[in-house]
Symmetry: D2
Subunit: 326 residues, 4 copies
């Protein structure tokens, strides 16, 4: 199916992705990984959870780590422009026959909880506790010097349908991968905040979270992280990279925590805020699509993901395959 | 005066700054400077003008160099979200008693020409010719590898009034400099597109253009440009830097062409799209305001600027002085 | 076998590796690759050869490309401290029963041609034409900005014997790979000039040249080269990397020209000039030996190399295998 | 005076500069500065001294901080090739009528203490305690990530005489500054280990230590250090830079500790090991000599230095002045 035209006047105004909650089985291990190694800053800590923010963020958190018996993803959070957008969102999801609840969440104002048609738990809010800036407290920078959360990437059993649903909400496609044979969309990158994506969908058994990405200053910070992880016991957590994506043109690294949650370290994509930005089309079999320099991704990268709490899995009926490393 | 609250629902939707027109006295010299040395790409060239874009831009131009007998600035251009925003802009400027004209401009759709209350020539448009992406044609990258136009900075005879006027249009203050004694605003940085600024105002004889800024990938590209300029005859065009700004946290370099037009090479400021982003206040006498590392700017940087075509100059009555290098 | 103690007072004083001659089948193609893409500077050009130097070198050439029907390596060149070292070298090689000839070479003074016991063609000289410095002519920098030739790496059918032979000449081992089972040396890195190596030996069918390496300023230059090669028709010439070596701690990229000659782009190894520097031992099966970050090298990297003109090939009887990518 | 020809067969073989001892008035403050901020590693600590090494060094120390009532420099240390070089050095200094003593120094083998003709305290050794490598323990890297000591720079009351004396010892000139009018040498850079210098001399009241330099990986590490110092209370310790030197082509930063001891952070000079390397001549009035990009050094940089313990000061009779910032 062709990529639908962007909805430039969506029913409610989503500003940007905001945060995710990962359920992890060993909070102390996760602290060593996300805080001491990646360099996220702790903004709240108790016996069963950790709230983290990146260096240039002033909202209270972009990542919640919550102790659980089994790894999963609790929610994907989005910030809307204004309080009235929450009410508009409530009506829109309700009209779609999707569940809507107003819930209480620490450090946040009104929170609208809902799910997309495939069961992905979503939450929307307009206000979250604001913290003082720390981006010029250079003694706090550690690890990969994460500056901000950048995007989510999800496995989807029907990327065309996901693009249509999220497109209606105002997410605009910047790049996409088409399967030549069936004409269907194999993957798509969609944004609200003016980068290549706030959310992306990749064909596969879904819904599952493929990864959460953090923006870092330069490729050298990614090299620093690799050196650090490789010599502090995290060698096996390095999955793919470093490299330059064909899609998005970003410099990247993929790592996976002990619960299998994948993080992308990401920098240097491009500005996309023009409403008339033309999506870039890639063929699924283009070897430079994944990595501009030609190296294919490993099988794990195409197959493994994190389940969402309460969402049933569905296989995709699109069986087209990308190039996978042997 | 205190910084006014942001106008989150402005009368028309300005997406971002878009382009400027510089009147230059020697087009061949300017080509050597902006194209061969800085690395902007020529998109149109004739005997009296050059149209340029940066590497990740798809709009036809972000900089017009036009042959003239005397250097000046022709216009500051802004892209709006949709065609109807142009009509709304027309009404708003007209209601303010400001001149409005629909003009013809090559490579652009409908263009609304107007001036701000101090005579700065502005133009707004929704559509400009779109060009194929070149951000992955790495053989075209040259000089400082400019990725996109980032912002304008203007001398203003009344920064408080400028902040109010542009604030009404929806520009939101991210950082500002206050004069402790008078309580007045000495400088302010205001954005639409989610960085520290699309436009800034600095106290001084105005209106004049202080500089136009381009975003580059990393500080190393700025070091490369310095090495190149210093050894290809452009030593005297280096004015200030490199350094880290206190305000904006950006890494910067200022250079001036032979007509006195100043360019800032700029990278690594931060994301500001949250509507509840709290402006950061700096004291005029804070030595880290200009440069986080303490080095004051030279006198030329505070005094020299480019006049706008057709705008009369007015001195500022705010006489407070920043720290100037001896 | 244990690594022999360094010979701190060798029979003649080799200063550093100097140059190599590659026989190539299409000089125009090689010019596009080594000059326009890698960024080496042409110092002499005629219909059948190209002489190149890197940016901080003042000797006339570090790489000679010579037109031939079949690809091979003509010679490995070394600079000695003084003219009398050439005479001492002549006696030493002669005493070893190896061939010695005084030959004429353009742009060079007296040249002693010989071969090592495995037939590798070597040449030694004390003086070569000197050229004016260009390291501050920043408009000449292109491609990966190669600064200087760094080292040779050879497949050797008997690494222990090679280490002994070159060690006697004063090359000192900085790092080596041991085969746990047999106790034999599987690979060794040996230097004269104070970096990790001027020459290295890797177990395999030999003698063959594995690669010639050039030193570049930072890892970002290697990323720039990858972006450039990937988008200018050289995608298939990228073989391995980028990555950090365990051995040498250098950041690297391996590329191969159309004749199969391999180049390593290399930076950030360490200073080794202390005569009491302790060699670092690595186990052949250590996954971080090749790449600190864990990614194994591809099979081609372990198997393919360039033959030396006039040298017969011999298999190694050491059959131990490193970790190879599937 | 013309630069003398290099002595390629010196009376004893100095390998490289090795270490310096700084007398400091507040050891705790100095620890915060050199260890926590610059990132040198503590190898020994007691109540009155700190021994430090940089990340790729295996010798026990490159910097000794010793508690004293008054700041001064205790000694400049050099490593020689072999034990017999110490004996040769003893004879050579003795023959010059200079004091020679065999002294005991912790963590070192035989140490020959002497002074140059201007009273600079020097010590030579062949062996120092060796420590395990830490260059791949990336969790230890901090601050500016100092890799190794690079050079000393001294004020000299007679640079021509210093060049002759040190030249006789085998130090070779790589670059120098001539005073056009008098034909005398105003400054000179001399090396043993193959970089632009192990030691340099600058015209002025001497002997005094101008600075000790440490080599770091890339210019970005210097930017990181500036950000860190500027936001952790060391703003006033930043003296000059960052910038690119004309002489040496190195990227630099100068900082001064609370006792006035100056450190240069330095990277990316070039390889100089060729015995026939032609010295590069600079004119004292060349504005690109100090900084390739044109910015002059501040007055403090030309006037302030650290006295050597036990050395009397002498004014220079060469009154030529470089360009000094206003």
């Amino acid at each position: 199916m062709p990529i639908p035209a962007p909805n430039l006047f969506p029913p409610f105004n989503i500003l940007r992705l905001s945060h995710t909650e990962l359920r992890v089985t060993d909070l102390a291990w996760s602290r060593g990984y996300y805080v001491d190694t990646l360099g996220l800053q702790v903004t709240h800590e108790d016996t069963h959870s950790l709230y983290l923010r990146a260096m240039e963020e002033r909202g209270h958190h972009c990542l919640i780590l919550r102790k659980a018996d089994v790894p999963s993803v609790g929610v994907l959070g989005f910030k809307v422009w204004a309080e009235e957008d929450l009410n508009r969102a409530e009506h829109w999801f309700h009209a779609k026959g999707l569940p809507v609840h107003w819930i209480e969440r620490p450090f946040m104002g009104r929170v609208l909880a809902t799910r997309d048609p495939w069961g992905v738990p979503l939450e929307f809010y307009a206000s979250m506790d604001r913290l003082p800036p720390i981006h010029q407290q250079y003694n706090l920078y550690r690890g990969v010097k994460p500056l901000r959360i950048d995007h989510f990437n999800l496995f989807s059993s029907n990327v065309d349908a996901a693009v249509e649903f999220y497109g209606e909400m105002g997410f605009r496609v910047t790049e996409y991968t088409a399967d030549e044979e069936t004409g269907r969309t194999w993957a798509a990158w969609m944004h609200r905040k003016g980068g290549v994506h706030d959310i992306a969908f990749t064909n596969g058994t879904g819904p599952r979270l493929h990864h959460t990405a953090f923006w870092v200053p330069t490729p050298l910070n990614i090299i620093d992280l690799l050196d650090l992880m490789a010599t502090t016991g995290y060698l096996d957590n390095i999955e793919r990279g470093p490299g330059r994506h064909g899609i998005s043109n970003a410099f990247f690294l993929y790592i996976r925590d002990r619960d299998g949650h994948r993080t992308e370290i990401y920098c240097s994509d491009y500005q996309t805020c023009d409403p008339d930005l033309e999506p870039i089309r890639w063929d699924l079999k283009d070897p430079q699509r994944q990595t501009l320099w030609g190296a294919p991704a490993p099988r794990s990268w195409f197959e493994l993901g994190s389940v969402f709490d309460g969402a049933a899995l569905l296989d995709s009926d699109l069986k087209a395959q990308p190039i996978i490393a042997p």
